[in-house]
Symmetry: C2
Subunit: 252 residues, 2 copies
């Protein structure tokens, strides 16, 4: 089903299960994609809906049924990311959205004092929207207002123990995130022991020792992302790559 060609259709082109194709769309289906009348294709309605359609030839297509797709990760994943200087956070928003993040919390920690402007926040949310569309997600990730690390700790109190919490620490003898994620898999249903995942990723200079200690007190598992030192832009992508892969792998 997902191999079918997809085209985006404006809502005014729909009526009574029929679609009026524009001249450009007819050309695209017939000449570019080489579809024949009777062939199936997918219509994107621009509101997250996908529809299976049959081309009748010319401007006519019939909508057969809605397609239920789900590219979302099985459990919501929240990222706390200490904001790097410059435009690094834009890259983080783009890549982690592609990789399935549910909520991104920009964090001001002891070693980051970047206070983003409202314009910057608006820009990050625009980038998240674009990236969600491009990567064919159903859910738009939330980018919260920035929080100080103290404020962030306080948001934890009401989440109970259903959240699997990790803090990524660059230097130290901690287990690899991949080990922890594989150990938390059940191989059934939503695939995880937990109901949601929270990953905290530090700034360029790393979390301070008191920050790591506070996290451990709050039942975060300190983890490693490997033995090379990653930029603060790369670390969130690596962490999300592992989370997404472990959620989507076949049973092992």
């Amino acid at each position: 089903m997902r191999e079918l060609q997809r085209i985006a259709i404006a809502s005014e082109q729909f009526h009574d299960q029929q679609v009026d194709l524009t001249a450009g769309q007819q050309h695209y289906l017939g000449r570019v994609l080489r579809l024949q009348p009777g062939d199936r294709f997918i219509i994107l309605d621009g509101r997250g809906g996908w529809w299976l359609a049959i081309w009748k030839g010319g401007q006519n297509a019939t909508v057969v049924e809605p397609i239920r797709i789900n590219n979302e990760l099985p459990i919501p994943v929240t990222l706390w990311v200490s904001m790097p200087k410059g435009s690094g956070f834009e890259e983080i928003v783009r890549c982690t959205t592609e990789l399935g993040v549910s909520r991104l919390v920009p964090i001001m920690s002891a070693r980051t004092v970047v206070v983003p402007s409202p314009q910057k926040l608006a820009r990050w949310r625009r980038i998240a929207t674009e990236a969600a569309e491009q990567s064919e997600r159903q859910i738009l990730p939330e980018i919260t207002d920035p929080l100080s690390i103290q404020q962030a700790w306080e948001t934890l109190s009401d989440q109970g123990e259903e959240v699997d919490k990790y803090i990524c620490v660059a230097r130290g003898d901690f287990p690899h995130l991949l080990n922890c994620l594989l150990a938390a898999r059940t191989g059934q249903g939503k695939g995880y022991v937990y109901n949601s995942l929270l990953l905290a990723i530090g700034p360029e200079g790393g979390w301070t020792t008191p920050e790591v200690e506070e996290a451990i007190n709050r039942r975060f598992q300190p983890v490693s992302l490997g033995s090379r030192i990653l930029r603060s832009v790369t670390a969130p992508m690596v962490a999300l790559s592992l989370v997404a892969a472990v959620s989507e792998m076949d049973n092992y």
Copy 2:
């Protein structure tokens, strides 16, 4: 050991196990890092060598012994990457170097016709050098001259079956790369059944069907990187994140 502070020293500062520190380095050790005479620190000799040293105070430091560190992945990893348009390849060079790639081969495939200038190639190599230093690698990844996909196939002939080869395919019902990598682990020695790894990652529009078929004929395993559609800049980072994590995880 890795928690010790590191400073880079020029080779002419070394003589007979002694190091003459510059005024700037003395300031850095004493005032910035707050080291006391007798404290240990690490010297980087700029040629991949690390040395344990003791500060004697003032301009004098003594070299104690070489430090054998190894942040390299246990087996060499080659990436074939179809070159995206724009500056995307720079991001790929930077991130995959951080993640431990050994050799990057810029590929011209059916759906990419970008021919990089010699200046661009020189720039990519500079970025790889910077990223290798920053991420504390011992080996500088090689960035080869660009190859057409046909030329790339021909480089395979003399590599025998010791190479574990994957082609990442965006749409299709293939096993997840993570499953394949975990299955190829031995949990002993270098950790892998194979002597080296080769990953081929396609362009924005994906590999063509003939390209995927050719790869399968040449014993590449087609794999998925998950159900969301990744940009061609993101896909290599995700693939390398998984390769690095599986190599560096504890036994599972």
